[in-house]
Symmetry: C2
């Protein structure tokens, strides 16, 4: 049995606050810095590694974090989760997204079925559909192949799948596994759907409607846009649309869709990239084999998260360093900085994953906590960010912990040599340089050119961004967020904070408002 | 003469810290809330308005901010700036980006020319080129029209122009002023250039190389990619490229370009969207008339920034409320949340504009300041963000001030009615609902469903996003950042924080490293 307790009642946390803090600029200089880079590295799955040499930790802090992991029973809680305990206490649900890519423990039966079998069956059904679409067995009414797939979804049904698609699009083109272009419609802003519909050939497009409940207003509205466009082109919407939804939703057994694939209540939207939500669009875009590799990468990374030893569990280590930064050092924001243009929307996905999971101020029993929980997450790819907001990161008045990601090789293997180095080398040289610049700084008599240093960062390094490493990367962050939620004793799997806005928006549309809400409605001509 | 002093030596600031703080949830409820929405609104240019009813201010706080504006001589400093004083003291340069869209005060002569005339001349030269490209007077070597324009630039040469292009792309298509599709290459990651080049028809593409110094490594590297692609297609690069650079740069008078347009040292990259940096790509994409309207909108907004009365100067008011939130209330992050899909990259541009300008910890004389300066800026469009990170904004342990933007009408005027309302109405209803939800919250006995409220936001409301309102919006934020820099007594126009990384990256590429930097270089295979 695991015990859930608030962070400020944990003995190991109290001890951690008393451990001497590390002077990062000092320890990262000279031979000590070199030693740290070699020593403070943990292997991840698929050849990735997590290097935390430039984080504000040392062996003493790590020992404290290790104790904290033990006392808060992090791996035991993970075990309870993957064995099917009701970890999402607010909504009284199990949390089974790991099961989409493997089975880490016991079989879990719910709704009368083995859940691993259920998820695998959906993958097989999706693979079957994708293969038929690619081979031309399933076509439009004129017997022509579909060339484009359009995902209609918002939040977790959009950000994750979109980020994963962009991460693999160019890789797939070079590898010859690129099957269909994917587009995404998400916003209730009518210009979003209009612009996407104007940019595609609807006659050769297959649309995926993604909504677990089948009642998401944005998504149903955008479905209507799409149906109008299909009808206006003289096409039958039912021959152009598939659904990803829960088995109990109104979309599940409807003749309006070619086929429906199922998700369930045990997977939150932000954790659904490895479920049918990501599976349908990624399998159609790149082929089911590519999606399977992506799942394999995630499954391998998940296995590491079971490890009780802190230095063999990169997600748990990353999580605890983050807690140390947030609660002991008092840093309140984290930047995600991938040195890979293909990961351009990965930070936006992690922003949802992290902030929606751990942006809570009550514990899992609904009692207010008196310590900071989830930080603000933001980021853009490097080197672009260097020419943008890095000024503040280097010389601003707040310290912002950084998480870099870098790959030794590009995806497309097309490069030029300028000033004796390739672009890929320049990209890698920049991320190496940034880590050291942030950590060590540089003294200058002109204070405007002085760099204090002491700004902590970690880096995940891999050979190349491909389906397997992407899967591992995604699982790493999902597990990191989960472990942090355990430490903060919050429920990382509900999102009650989105409800009030929905309720009030409905009232505005029904013209049932008063006070400030009525005035704002009038100002906006509603 | 203006006097520059640190915020913590300003009498009015000290007084402001003693003014009673507003209970936002209380004052935004009931009749008082309705009254505030009507009262706390300031007209901007082009029919926009800045509503700050849901900010944590009242008449007393506003009186304090007004005193602060006066004592820190904000409008006088702006006057000094547009009259040509050397406000960028670090680099010993004038700050003249306002001059690209109008002349607010005296004529300013530099480098032997009247600067207003200089900027207008560049606009005319760009308009002339754009008209010739559109009419087919300037074509590729085969006599065929150019259909695509590709901007090669990074940081300010990328984020602003890209955000503005995306903001107007669909509007221009509907208005019939869309001339050429624009693409952007920025990252030194070789996959960025490769992917863009694979997505276009190079034979009908015109490339704009943008680099003030003519030495930006990323941009020169990407130029080389483009030249290779053109040569491989049997084309003459000199017939496909123009340059935007300073008159003294190596690119200025080179036969490698069809033509060169000029910027100068008095406009920082992040303030260059209204200069030739934005002018070339936007004039080619949408026609010079559209770019001229964009400048007009900015010019009209600039005029308001001259107003000494706080409640008639929306940029100054916005700036001071931001300072109050940062320095008195202690909030350290600001979210930019446009309810407009067309503004999808506008937050990324503002992130650079704000964080690179005011992410400083020394004052304009190079002395360390002992108060927080520029906040972290992040954001995504609504309603997408509602299904992502809003959970933390509503129920997280930190308070994040919010800046909404909303328009009554869509750009494309294509809409559907679902559940008795259009998508545009749903979009507007959501932003109205969010403001009130954040401010007032909602008491629930289930603490997990409880909303504390007290989370401040402002909103800029307009009829429609078009070139004029976009120009006004951009100028508003540029001037806001400028005024905040004045209050914090920092130089908002240099960026020394980007230098150290560049120096170290060069060392890595030259293999002149030791210690941690050598180890990281090895890990990344450089």
């Amino acid at each position: 049995m695991v015990t859930w307790k608030n962070l400020d009642t944990v003995q190991a946390y109290d001890e951690l606050t008393k451990v001497a803090q590390v002077n990062l600029a000092e320890v990262m200089s000279g031979a000590s810095g070199a030693e740290r880079v070699k020593k403070y590295s943990v292997p991840m799955a698929e050849g990735l590694s997590y290097n935390f040499a430039a984080k504000q930790v040392d062996d003493q802090v790590l020992a404290g974090l290790s104790k904290l992991a033990e006392e808060t029973q992090l791996t035991e809680k993970f075990e309870a989760l993957y064995n099917g305990e009701v970890i999402n206490t607010g909504e009284k649900r199990m949390v089974l997204h790991h099961m989409t890519r493997g089975q880490l423990g016991d079989a879990v039966v719910a709704d009368g079925v083995d859940k691993r079998e259920f998820y695998v069956k959906q993958q097989e059904r999706i693979a079957d559909l994708a293969n038929k679409v690619h081979s031309g067995e399933i076509t439009n009414a004129a017997g022509e192949k579909f060339t484009t797939v359009v995902q209609i979804g918002i939040g977790g049904s959009d950000l994750g799948p979109r980020a994963m698609y962009l991460a693999l699009e160019n890789w797939a083109k070079v590898q010859g596994t690129f099957k269909m272009e994917a587009k995404f419609i998400s916003n209730v802003d009518p210009d979003d759907a209009s612009a996407v519909l104007n940019s595609i050939d609807v006659a050769h497009s297959l649309f995926i409607l993604v909504s677990k409940s089948g009642t998401t207003l944005e998504t149903l509205t955008n479905e209507s846009f799409v149906k109008d466009a299909l009808k206006n082109a003289g096409l039958d919407p039912a021959k152009h649309m598939i659904a990803v939804t829960s088995e109990t939703s109104p979309l599940a057994k409807s003749d309006d869709y070619l086929e429906a694939f199922y998700m369930d209540d045990y997977i939150g939207g932000r954790y659904s990239s490895t479920s049918a939500v990501g599976g349908a669009v990624l399998s159609l875009a790149f082929g089911p084999e590519v999606f399977a590799e992506f799942l394999d990468g995630a499954a391998e990374e998940d296995k590491l998260a079971k490890n009780k030893e802190l230095l063999k569990n990169p997600a748990m280590l990353d999580a605890l360093i983050g807690v140390y930064e947030r609660n002991v050092l008092g840093y309140n924001t984290t930047a995600i900085l991938p040195y890979s243009q293909a990961l351009s929307r990965f930070p936006a996905h992690l922003q949802q994953l992290d902030m929606e999971s751990n942006g809570k101020s009550v514990n899992r029993f609904g009692e207010p906590v008196s310590y900071p929980t989830g930080p603000v997450i933001f980021g853009e790819p490097g080197t672009n960010g260097q020419h943008s907001f890095y000024q503040l990161l280097h010389q601003g008045t707040d310290i912002i912990p950084l998480q870099f990601v870098g790959f030794k090789n590009s995806q497309m293997a097309n490069d030029v040599v300028i000033q004796d180095s390739t672009s890929q080398q320049k990209l890698c040289a920049n991320v190496a340089a940034q880590i050291v610049a942030f950590a060590c700084g540089k003294v200058d008599e002109d204070r405007n050119k002085n760099f204090e240093g002491g700004r902590p960062s970690s880096i995940i390094i891999g050979d190349q961004l491909n389906p397997k490493t992407l899967g591992a990367l995604l699982a790493h962050y999902e597990n990191k967020v989960m472990f942090q939620g355990f430490v903060w004793n919050v429920n990382s799997f509900d999102q009650e904070g989105v409800q009030l806005g929905k309720v009030l928006a409905k009232r505005v549309l029904a013209h049932e408002t008063e006070g400030a809400l009525k005035e704002f409605s009038d100002l906006l001509n509603i």
